[in-house]
């Protein structure tokens, strides 16, 4: 079967059903393609001569050059005819945005089967139907029907996370939330009814994609579990995969069946599949993105011993509980290390030095305790990873050094996550500084701990498959 390159990195795109009318699907898709600055753009519409300054063709068969990708912005009943034209033209890939197929009852299912038969054994790769499309952030190619993503054009920057969503609109919403948080994607895919292109195909593509470091999947169902397992086993040897799977309860499964024609299967089998394949299962979609962010910025955990440095005892306990429930440990520091912390003025004399290391009340004038204590902990063999909890918004003093000298902390190749908890005016600025210094920053201490669990699980997996470097 052909690869997904023409689908994701096309140099020539035909928009079938292109329109100059704002608000029409064929207009939104065309505008997105134009703004993506793709080399050859061919609007297809038998009634028009020119749309938005581009020469219009009656059908793909009339286009003079080769077509890598056709975007189908036409009603479901017209799709089979256009697909047969695409086959005749040897179009390499297509995205069927239209709904009205398997998700829409018997007649739609018949239509989908008809197309399945047409493309069986052919080279063409098809995304959808009933999908939002894909966004190749690396190249800046917006191949979606989303009218909103272009509004964020300036904040969407190429990142390292490949995102595969089974829900279209929700996938786009998550994309925008991620962008706002500074979590940048490399590629986003929405597969819709998964008639041809499956999760496994996208995983294979992303695993070879040099700009993708971590893969996130928002999943409702799987069509061929054995195939997904085979691919996951290969992919997770080289890149972490985080999956959130919804539709667990019976009511959840019903909602799914009416959504993308998902087939019901017991959730335990999904857990088994993910575990066997070495994927990390997130409990929610936001958690999945947060975990992927941690995995994209920080190395996996080598052991299970975590150091916590906080300026409030309570949060240290909350994080410790989550870590210990998931096989990690927050060991008491040796006397030697505790003495070092005191002697080197890394903690106040009234703070706790056991682990969690408690720096106590945040005061703007306090010295660089976070930096000094972090460095001492990272230098010992007693911990494999570090969580820094920052309450309030101590922009100067406490945090300025970890921003300035982040390199000195990150070079230990031990993961460092930060939980910054505050709603004070300077919070966003503080978060931004820490993120730019290379640390994933979360508000919620629970989320921070869960992300450390993800780094632990991936490290464990790499050791299991003999890929620990």
């Amino acid at each position: 079967m052909a690869g997904l390159e023409p689908l994701v990195e096309p140099s020539s795109v035909a928009v079938v059903g292109a329109s100059s009318k704002v608000g029409k699907l064929g207009n939104t898709a065309l505008v997105n393609v134009i703004e993506s600055k793709i080399k050859n753009i061919y609007p297809i519409n038998p009634k028009e001569k020119e749309i938005l300054g581009f020469k219009c063709y009656p059908s793909v068969l009339d286009v003079p050059g080769d077509i890598d990708l056709a975007l189908l912005c036409i009603p479901a009943k017209l799709v089979p005819q256009v697909i047969s034209q695409c086959l005749a033209k040897k179009v390499k890939a297509a995205i069927i945005f239209s709904g009205g197929f398997r998700e829409a009852g018997e007649a739609g299912a018949k239509l989908q089967s008809q197309i399945e038969k047409m493309i069986a054994g052919k080279e063409i790769r098809i995304l959808g139907p009933n999908c939002v499309g894909l966004y190749n952030v690396t190249k800046g190619y917006n191949l979606t029907l989303s009218p909103t993503l272009k509004m964020l054009k300036d904040s969407i920057k190429p990142g390292k996370i490949g995102f595969l969503s089974q829900s279209g609109v929700f996938g786009v919403a998550l994309f925008t939330v991620a962008v706002k948080k500074g979590i940048h994607l490399s590629k986003m895919f929405h597969l819709g009814n998964k008639m041809d292109v499956q999760d496994a195909d996208v995983l294979e593509y992303l695993s070879k994609d040099p700009s993708t470091k971590v893969i996130v999947i928002y999943m409702e169902d799987v069509k061929d579990g054995q195939k997904l397992l085979r691919v996951l086993k290969e992919v997770t040897k080289v890149k972490p995969v985080v999956i959130v799977r919804v539709g667990k309860t019976e009511a959840g499964s019903r909602a799914s069946a009416s959504h993308v024609g998902a087939l019901k299967a017991p959730d335990k089998l999904y857990s088994a599949l993910f575990k066997q394949g070495g994927a990390i299962r997130a409990k929610s979609s936001f958690e999945a993105l947060n975990m992927a962010w941690a995995l994209s910025l920080q190395p996996p955990l080598k052991g299970n011993k975590i150091g916590i440095i906080t300026n409030s005892g309570g949060q240290g306990v909350e994080i410790t509980d989550v870590l210990c429930d998931n096989g990690l440990d927050v060991p008491e520091l040796s006397e030697e290390t505790q003495n070092r912390l005191l002697e080197e003025d890394a903690v106040p004399s009234w703070g706790s030095r056991k682990n969690p290391v408690d720096l106590t009340a945040p005061m703007p004038q306090t010295p660089d305790w976070y930096f000094k204590s972090s460095k001492i902990l990272l230098e010992t063999e007693e911990i494999d990873g570090l969580i820094i909890v920052v309450l309030g918004t101590p922009l100067e003093g406490l945090t300025s050094k970890i921003v300035e000298k982040a390199e000195e902390l990150l070079r230990f190749k031990k993961p460092i996550l930060i939980s910054a908890i505050s709603a004070l005016p300077n919070h966003e600025l503080l978060t931004k500084r820490l993120v730019e210094a290379g640390f994933p920053v979360y508000m919620d201490p629970y989320t921070t701990a869960r992300c450390m669990v993800a780094l632990y699980e991936y490290g464990k997996h790499l050791k299991k498959v003999g890929r620990w470097k």
């Binding site: 169902d221 799987v222 069509k223 061929d224 579990g225 054995q226 397992l229 087939l263 299967a265 335990k268 089998l269 857990s271 088994a272 599949l273 575990k275 066997q276 299991k464």
Partner: protein, 230 residues
């Protein structure tokens, strides 16, 4: 041998294999089962029992009777020729009363597995989206209540089998427990690997249920088994 068993069942229009047939298939894959032979008369039952050594268990073998206990078709812990003879007669009587149309092949006389609270269930199924699947669960009286089970897609590797055991909430019963020495987990791993191989290779089998398997410190033994064809 396996194909003979399956084609015989097919010829007779059966989807369910008998316990005897199911155990033959398990043994072909190296899964230890309680030993036994089929008797068609009380005297023959005694002869087999003497060979196996008392105590023995007697179970009805009929393609139409899948829930043997419900039909009064199981007698356990029989210690003498007299007990075996009367159990044989009672089982036949009960089976005929339970289902007059049931074809009775005979009575399965088998060694009595020594009792232990360490019981497990191992199963294999074929699922539409997942293909062959292996299941491991804690057995015994609370199996329905606790549902302490773990799954993997077949075929599994040895490490998967160990992880399946590790996933059981009640895995501690395999360690030293109430004065009993710990069990050799490798024996459970071997059963899981065998079931994985079986459900992967035998495409005509849709469901396989070994319940219970007795787990002793140095061996395991399948006491009852059921196989359903696709």
């Amino acid at each position: 041998m396996i194909s003979t068993i399956i084609s015989k069942a097919r010829k007779e229009g059966r989807k369910a294999l008998t316990e005897f047939e199911s155990k033959e298939i398990l043994r072909a894959y190296g899964i230890p089962t309680t030993y036994g032979e089929i008797a068609t008369s009380p005297d023959e039952a005694v002869k087999i029992a003497e060979k196996i050594k008392y105590p023995v268990a007697l179970k009805i073998i009929s393609p139409q009777i899948l829930h043997k206990s419900d039909a009064g078709g199981v007698k356990l812990n029989l210690k003498s020729p007299e007990e075996v003879k009367s159990a044989f007669k009672e089982i036949i009587k009960n089976a005929k009363a339970y289902n007059p149309k049931a074809e009775i092949i005979g009575v399965f006389v088998q060694e009595m597995a020594s009792p232990t609270i360490r019981e497990i269930i191992v199963g294999g199924t074929r699922e539409p989206q997942f293909g062959p699947v292996v299941m491991l669960g804690l057995g015994g009286i609370f199996v329905e209540v606790l549902r302490d089970v773990s799954f993997r897609l077949a075929p599994i590797e040895e490490i998967d089998a160990y992880e399946m055991i590790e996933e059981l909430k009640g895995k501690k019963i395999f360690g030293p427990f109430r004065g009993m020495p710990k069990v050799d987990i490798k024996n459970i791993v071997d059963v899981l690997l065998a079931v994985s191989k079986l459900i992967t290779e035998q495409k005509e089998i849709s469901e396989l249920d070994i319940n219970p398997i007795m787990v002793y410190p140095n061996e395991v033994k399948a006491v009852d088994a059921r196989i359903i064809l696709v």
